[in-house]
C-alpha cells in the first residue's frame, strides 16, 4: 500500500508551499508524508517557519498536527518529503538529533519524574550535562527559569511530586527553556493550567520570541491561539488548509477553516430544557470530605440536570468527581444515589449507578493496546456473557451500537484504541459509560481535554442527550466556555471548597471567573 502513498510526496511540488513566509526560514518542510497502517496522517505538507515568530497550529484531531510535530522533533520519520533546518536538509534518526538541531517540545502528556527534584527534572535528558561539574551554573540557570515562570518561590531541590499538576506543566516548559532551543513546540500546554498560570506561560513565550526564538503553539483553544500567535497554520485531512496572519482572522473564520466544508456545528445555544423527562434518579451529597484536600461539600441533583464544577487546578472540583467515582478511598461523607453510596471503590460506585470518565484517559481510562470494540464494551462484560462465557456476536452488536451512538467511525472498530485521536478516544470512553437504558450518574473530569472543536461539540451533545434521557451529569472543568455550553447549574470551587452555585441563566462568565479566581488567590497562599 505504501508505494502509492510514498509517490505522493514528490508529486506534490514545492510550489504547494501552503504555509509560506517571507523571511529566511528557520525550518522548511516540503511534501512531508506519513502513513500509519491504512491511515494517511500526512499527505504532503509543505510549510516554512521563520525565526522569531509564534505560529499557532490548529486543526481537528486526526488532521495531522501531532504527526507533523512528531516528524519535526525526530520522534518519527517521514515516508516521503524533506525537512530543512537553517537551509540544510536534515534527517532525524531520533529526538536527540532534533534536540541537536535546536528543536524541543513540551508534550501534552507529562513526561516528568515525580521522585526527582525540580532541577533534576529540568535537566533530565539534557545533552549538555556533564558527569561532574557545572552544578552551580545549572542551579543558577534553573532558579532563573523558575523565576521566569513565576515559580520563584519554590526551591530547585523540591521533589516534583510536591507540586500540583499545573505547576508541573510549568516545570515541563522550564525544561524546554533550559535547552536553549531555537524552535520550541508547545503541544496543548495550557490544558491543565489556571488562568494565572496561563498568563505566565504566555509571558515566557513572548519573551522567547523577543530573543529571536520560534514557537509552535499547538492548541484547540482558539482564543489563546488568536491572543498569542503571529500566524496560524490550519491542518485538515493531512494537508494544510491555510496559513494566515492572526490580524486577518477572527474566531469564526478560524473555526470555519478548521472544520472545512463540513463545518456546520449545531449551535450549542439551542438548549432544550423543555424536552427533558423529569426522571426519578436523585443524587444527594452531604458533607463529602477529603482530609487535607476537600472541605465538606454538599450537592443535590435530579435526573436531567447537568452540573458543572468550575474550578482551577487544585480547587477541588476534580476531587469531588473522583471521590464520587469511588477513586478516593479516604473520602468521607454521606452520598446517596437511590439509597446506595458510591464511596470506597470504583466497583461500589458502579453498583450505585455511577459511570466515571477519568480526566487522564490514557493512564486511567483506556486499554490502549486493545481494540475499540473491546474498549467500548470493557465495563459491560456481564451483559456480553452468559455464565461467564462471552458472546462474540453480542459484543459486535453492542460495540457497533455504542460506536454509532457516540460517532466513532466503523472503520476503526478493530484498531487499537491507542492509535485513535484524542476526540475519538474520549468518545469511546463516553460510549463505554452509556451502557444501560436505566438512568445513571455520569461523572466526567475535564470532558473535552485535548479534544478538537468538532469532537467537543459532539461530546457536549452526547452529554445533553444523556441528561435528556434521565441521567445526571456532573463534570469538572477549567474551561469557562465549556461550563456555559453544557451546565444547567454551575458550582464554583476554589482552594478545596465550594464558593457558590448558580443557575446557568442567572450568572455571567465574569462572575464565575471572579469567584474561581478570588478564592484561588486565597488558595495560592497555602502552597
Amino acid at each position: 500500500m505504501s508505494t502509492d502513498q510514498a509517490l505522493q510526496g514528490p508529486f506534490r511540488p514545492a510550489s504547494a508551499d501552503q504555509g509560506g513566509s517571507d523571511r529566511a526560514p528557520l525550518v522548511r518542510a516540503t511534501g512531508l508524508t506519513r502513513t500509519y497502517g491504512a491511515v494517511q496522517a500526512l499527505r504532503g505538507v509543505s510549510v516554512s517557519i521563520a525565526p522569531g515568530e509564534i505560529v499557532g497550529i490548529c486543526g481537528q484531531n486526526g488532521a495531522g498536527k501531532s504527526t507533523f510535530v512528531k516528524l519535526l522533533t525526530g520522534l518519527e520519520r517521514p515516508d516521503a518529503g524533506e525537512l530543512e533546518v537553517h537551509g540544510e536538509t536534515v534527517q532525524f534518526a531520533s529526538t536527540l538529533d532534533g534536540q541537536r538541531a535546536g528543536i524541543a517540545i513540551v508534550d501534552q502528556e507529562l513526561a516528568l519524574v515525580p521522585q526527582l527534584s525540580l532541577e533534576e527534572n529540568i535537566y533530565l535528558g539534557h545533552r549538555d550535562v556533564p558527569l561532574i561539574g557545572g552544578a552551580k551554573a545549572r542551579r543558577a540557570r534553573c532558579n532563573e527559569i523558575l523565576e521566569q515562570l513565576g515559580l520563584g518561590h519554590l526551591d530547585a531541590s523540591t521533589p516534583l511530586r510536591n507540586l500540583r499538576i499545573g505547576e508541573r506543566q510549568l516545570v515541563e516548559i522550564g525544561r524546554v527553556l533550559a535547552r536553549d532551543a531555537q524552535l520550541l513546540i508547545l503541544d496543548e500546554p495550557t490544558a491543565t493550567l489556571s488562568n494565572a498560570e496561563i498568563a505566565r506561560v504566555f509571558a515566557a513565550v513572548r519573551q522567547m520570541r523577543a530573543q529571536g526564538r520560534t514557537v509552535l503553539y499547538v492548541s484547540h483553544r482558539l482564543g489563546e491561539v488568536l491572543d498569542l500567535c503571529d500566524r496560524v497554520v490550519v491542518f485538515g485531512d493531512g494537508l494544510i488548509r491555510g496559513a494566515h496572519d492572526v490580524t486577518q482572522l477572527d474566531r469564526e473564520r478560524l473555526v470555519q477553516l478548521i472544520l472545512g466544508e463540513a463545518g456546520v456545528v449545531e449551535s450549542s445555544a439551542t438548549r432544550s430544557n423543555s424536552q427533558r423527562d423529569q426522571g426519578t434518579l436523585e443524587l444527594d451529597v452531604r458533607g463529602l470530605e477529603i482530609p487535607g484536600r476537600l472541605r465538606p461539600f454538599d450537592l443535590s441533583a435530579t435526573s436531567g440536570q447537568i452540573i458543572g464544577l468550575a474550578g482551577q487546578v487544585g480547587s477541588g472540583a476534580d476531587d469531588v468527581v473522583r471521590a464520587l467515582g469511588g477513586l478516593v478511598p479516604e473520602a468521607r461523607g454521606t452520598v446517596g444515589i437511590a439509597g446506595r453510596s458510591p464511596l470506597g471503590s470504583p466497583a461500589r460506585a458502579r453498583n450505585a449507578g455511577i459511570r466515571f470518565v477519568p480526566g487522564d484517559r490514557r493512564g486511567e481510562g483506556l486499554f490502549l493496546a486493545d481494540s475499540v470494540r473491546r474498549n467500548i464494551t470493557a465495563t459491560s462484560l456481564k451483559v456480553l456473557s452468559r455464565f461467564g462465557v462471552l458472546s462474540g456476536r453480542r459484543q459486535r452488536q453492542l460495540s457497533d451500537e455504542r460506536a454509532a451512538l457516540v460517532g466513532v467511525p466503523r472503520t476503526k472498530m478493530n484498531a487499537a484504541v491507542g492509535d485513535l485521536s484524542g476526540g475519538n478516544q474520549q468518545k469511546v470512553l463516553i460510549g463505554r459509560s452509556l451502557d444501560e437504558s436505566t438512568p445513571r450518574v455520569l461523572l466526567l473530569d475535564e470532558p473535552t481535554r485535548g479534544v478538537d472543536v468538532a469532537g467537543r461539540a459532539d461530546i457536549h451533545r452526547l452529554l445533553k442527550d444523556a441528561a435528556a434521557r434521565g441521567c445526571i451529569v456532573v463534570f469538572a472543568s477549567t474551561e469557562i466556555d465549556e461550563l456555559f455550553d453544557l451546565a444547567d447549574t454551575i458550582v464554583t470551587m476554589a482552594a478545596g471548597g465550594k464558593v457558590g452555585a448558580h443557575a446557568h441563566s442567572e450568572v455571567t462568565a465574569d462572575e464565575v471567573l471572579h469567584e474561581m479566581a478570588n478564592a484561588g488567590a486565597r488558595g495560592a497562599s497555602h502552597v
Binding site: 500500500m1 502509492d4 502513498q5 491504512a38 491511515v39 494517511q40 496522517a41 481537528q60 486526526g62 488532521a63 495531522g64 485531512d237 493531512g238 472544520l259 472545512g260 463540513a262 456546520v264 456545528v265 449545531e266 467515582g325 469511588g326 477513586l327 471503590s345 470504583p346 466497583a347 460506585a349 453498583n351 466515571f356 477519568p358 493512564g363 486511567e364 481510562g365 483506556l366 486499554f367 490502549l368 493496546a369 486493545d370 473491546r374 470493557a378 465495563t379 462484560l381 456481564k382 456480553l384 461467564g388 462465557v389 462471552l390 462474540g392 459486535r396 457497533d400 460517532g407 467511525p409 466503523r410 472503520t411 472498530m413 478493530n414 463505554r432 468538532a454 461539540a457 459532539d458 451533545r461
Partner: protein, 334 residues
C-alpha cells in the same frame, strides 16, 4: 451525527470493517508468535541436519516427555504474567509441596489425593493472589515470602526428609504411563492448555485478566473486579503448578520440598520465550506451549551433542535474555 466528524479519508480502502478477521490475519498480527514458531522450526531443521539421532521417533518422545512437567508450570506462570502480577517465585516449592501432599494422601485413594493436592496448590496460590490483588502487595516479595513459609511448614512436618510412594502401590502409575508412545502427561497438558486458553479468550474473567495486565489503574477505575480476577488467576495457576508436581512425583515415586527448584525459572522462561509480555496484557497459552517446545528442543539438542547440564542451563538463560531484549524494544516503539 457523522456529518461533523471529519476523518481523513484513507487512500487505501480499509478491509471490510465488520468482517471478523480471518485467522491468517490474526496469525500475522501475532508477530512474536511467528518469531517463536520460526525459531522452533529453525531449531528442528538444524537438529535434523546436524545431529545424529535427533530426527527419530524415540527422540521426539524424549522431547515430549520432558515438556509435561514444565508445561503445566508454564501455563500457570502465563496466567499470572498476563494478569499483570509478574510471576510467582514459589512455583517450584508449591509444586513440590503439592506432590508431597499427593503422596501422603495416596492411602485414601488416588482420586482423593489428586483433589487434596489440587486444593492445596490452588489455595496457597489464591492466598497470594488475594494479598497482591487486594492490598497491592508486590508479587515478587509476596511469592518469595510464601515460598519460605511453605518450605518451613514442610520441613517442620517431614523433618526435611523426602516422602516416597510405597513400592507396592500401583494406582497412581497411569499418570506415568504412555499411550501410543506418548506420555499421559502430554495428553493432559494439551487438554489443560486448550481449556485454559478458552477460559482466557472466551470468558469475562479472561477478558478481565488481559485488561488488568494492560493497565491496572484503568481496570480499577473501570470498576472491574480486580481482586476476584487476580485471585482466580492465581488459583488456576496454583492448580496447574500442583499438577506439575504430581506428574513428577508419579514418575519418580518421591518428592521433597526443595526437589523442584529449577521449575520456577523454567516456567517463567517458557512464558517469556513464548512472547508473553512480562508486564502483562499480551501473550497467550499457545505461545507459551511453543515456548516450552523451544526450550525442550534446545535442551535435547545440546544433550544429544554431548553438552553438560550447565551448558543447557546457559542456553536457556541466553534464550530468555534474547527474547526479553527483542520484545521489550518492540513494546517501546508501540
Amino acid at each position: 451525527m457523522s456529518d461533523i466528524t471529519l476523518q481523513p479519508t484513507p487512500a487505501v480502502a480499509p478491509p471490510e470493517p465488520d468482517a471478523p478477521r480471518r485467522w491468517t490475519e490474526r496469525l500475522l498480527d501475532n508477530k512474536r508468535m511467528a518469531v517463536t514458531a520460526g525459531g522452533l522450526g529453525v531449531l528442528l531443521v538444524l537438529g535434523m541436519l546436524t545431529t545424529d539421532g535427533f530426527a527419530t521417533v524415540d527422540n521426539a518422545r524424549a522431547i515430549l516427555a520432558a515438556i509435561a512437567v514444565t508445561g503445566f508450570a508454564a501455563i500457570g506462570a502465563t496466567v499470572i504474567m498476563l494478569s499483570g502480577s509478574l510471576f510467582s517465585m514459589s512455583t517450584g516449592v508449591t509444586a513440590a509441596g503439592s506432590a508431597m501432599v499427593f503422596i501422603s494422601a495416596l492411602d485414601s485413594g488416588v482420586g482423593v489425593a489428586l483433589i487434596v493436592a489440587f486444593a492445596v496448590g490452588g489455595l496457597v496460590f489464591a492466598l497470594q493472589g488475594f494479598a497482591i490483588g487486594a492490598w497491592g502487595a508486590n508479587p515478587i516479595i509476596t511469592t518469595i515470602g510464601f515460598g519460605s513459609l511453605q518450605v518451613a511448614v514442610a520441613t517442620m512436618i517431614t523433618d526435611g526428609s523426602s516422602v516416597r510412594i510405597p513400592a507396592d502401590f500401583t494406582a497412581h502409575r497411569f499418570l506415568a504411563d504412555t499411550v501410543l508412545g506418548v506420555p499421559v502427561g502430554v495428553y493432559l497438558l494439551v487438554i489443560t492448555a486448550v481449556c485454559v486458553h478458552l477460559l482466557l479468550t472466551r470468558t469475562a474473567w479472561g477478558r478481565s485478566v488481559y485488561f488488568l495486565g494492560q493497565s491496572g489503574p484503568a481496570a480499577y477505575a473501570a470498576g472491574l473486579p480486580v481482586v476476584a480476577t487476580t485471585v482466580i488467576a492465581f488459583a488456576i495457576a496454583g492448580a496447574c503448578t500442583a499438577f506439575a508436581g504430581i506428574l513428577q512425583a508419579a514418575s519418580i515415586g518421591t518428592a521433597s520440598i526443595n526437589g523442584m527448584s529449577t521449575l520456577t525459572f523454567d516456567a517463567i522462561a517458557a512464558a517469556v520465550v513464548g512472547g508473553t509480555a512480562i508486564a502483562g496484557g499480551r501473550g497467550s497459552i499457545p505461545r507459551t506451549v511453543i515456548g516450552v517446545l523451544v526450550i525442550a528442543t534446545t535442551a535435547d539438542l545440546l544433550l544429544l551433542r554431548g553438552y553438560s547440564a550447565g551448558i543447557q542451563l546457559l542456553a536457556t538463560g541466553l534464550l530468555v535474555i534474547a527474547f526479553v531484549f527483542a520484545t521489550s524494544r518492540k513494546e517501546e516503539s508501540r
